[in-house]
Symmetry: C2
Subunit: 176 residues, 2 copies
């Protein structure tokens, strides 16, 4: 009976992993970003929602911030710092008015995701040893075709995140 239980648990564990990494929007064979060596996480588009935002000004995008299970659990429990293995994904779309919606609502613009900008997809990956010199986080940016941004761009990530040190270098708060 012990062997049966063991097998069952092993298979259940496998099922959990499969469910977690299921339908992938990313592609494992895409190149890694410079400096941090991060690839697109398969299945990130299935991750849970952390929050949303609209960046005005020159970015002018609307974005969703998703997290893997460990990152979302950490947010919900409010126990910083994020443990190693936490990954946060940020998807940005250009910010466009919806003509369809505006016709119906008639109350100012309804703005929705448009085409993907150059900075479409970003990841923050917590690995306190590997990324010790950048606050324990690795950073990655890809365009919509999965092409990584260049080294110069990736050098700008950590300095910009330093003011967010009180939230373990993460800008986004969890939206309940």
């Amino acid at each position: 009976m012990k062997r049966i239980a063991f097998l069952a648990v092993a298979v259940a564990g496998l099922a959990g992993i499969v469910a977690f990494s299921a339908p992938a929007s990313g592609h494992a064979d895409e190149p890694a970003v410079p400096i941090f060596g991060i690839k697109i996480y398969p299945g990130y588009r299935d991750w849970k929602l952390i929050s949303v935002a609209h960046e005005e000004g020159n970015l002018n995008d609307i974005r969703a911030i998703l997290g893997n299970d460990l990152a979302v659990k950490t947010y919900r429990e409010g126990k910083l710092p994020f443990p190693d293995g936490s990954v946060i994904a940020r998807i940005a779309w250009s910010y466009v008015p919806s003509d369809e919606n505006n016709k119906v609502f008639g109350r100012g613009h309804s703005c929705v995701p448009g085409p993907a900008p150059e900075w479409y997809l970003q990841f923050m990956v917590k690995d306190s040893k590997k990324y010790a010199s950048t606050g324990g986080w690795g950073y990655a940016q890809f365009d919509k075709d999965g092409k990584p941004a260049d080294e110069a761009k990736h050098k700008t990530c950590f300095p910009c995140h330093v003011p967010a040190k009180p939230l373990d270098y993460v800008f986004t708060h969890y939206a309940p």
Copy 2:
């Protein structure tokens, strides 16, 4: 060996169900909305992201649209109409500038979710028989404390969604 395999599959299946219905934000003991009789779906906050939006004007909110597995699968496959059992959740937060982010970015406002408005949480529930008179969808609105909106409010849902008939009465497009 057959029994072992059966048990393993049964447990694996259970693990999948547990993973799907895990941490619930909703509460099953909350009241149902008028007309449509819909309660808050436990676990909706864990559903996959469909899209995001910002409504300007009198609503002035920023929102996320999530879907249960069936709704998201339907969106991704692009096969309308949505099958019975599809559920779409819309969470809205008041739209506020982030002072924290603005200090760092210096490029116009970074706007993020603020306090929950009265129209915090909505659901669209596909049941082509039960809701035949309203395009096959039931509608529900709750405030942040889980209190349903009144009957008058729920009478306005379907008429407003009629112009979205080409997308099976749903305004939101999937954001890839």
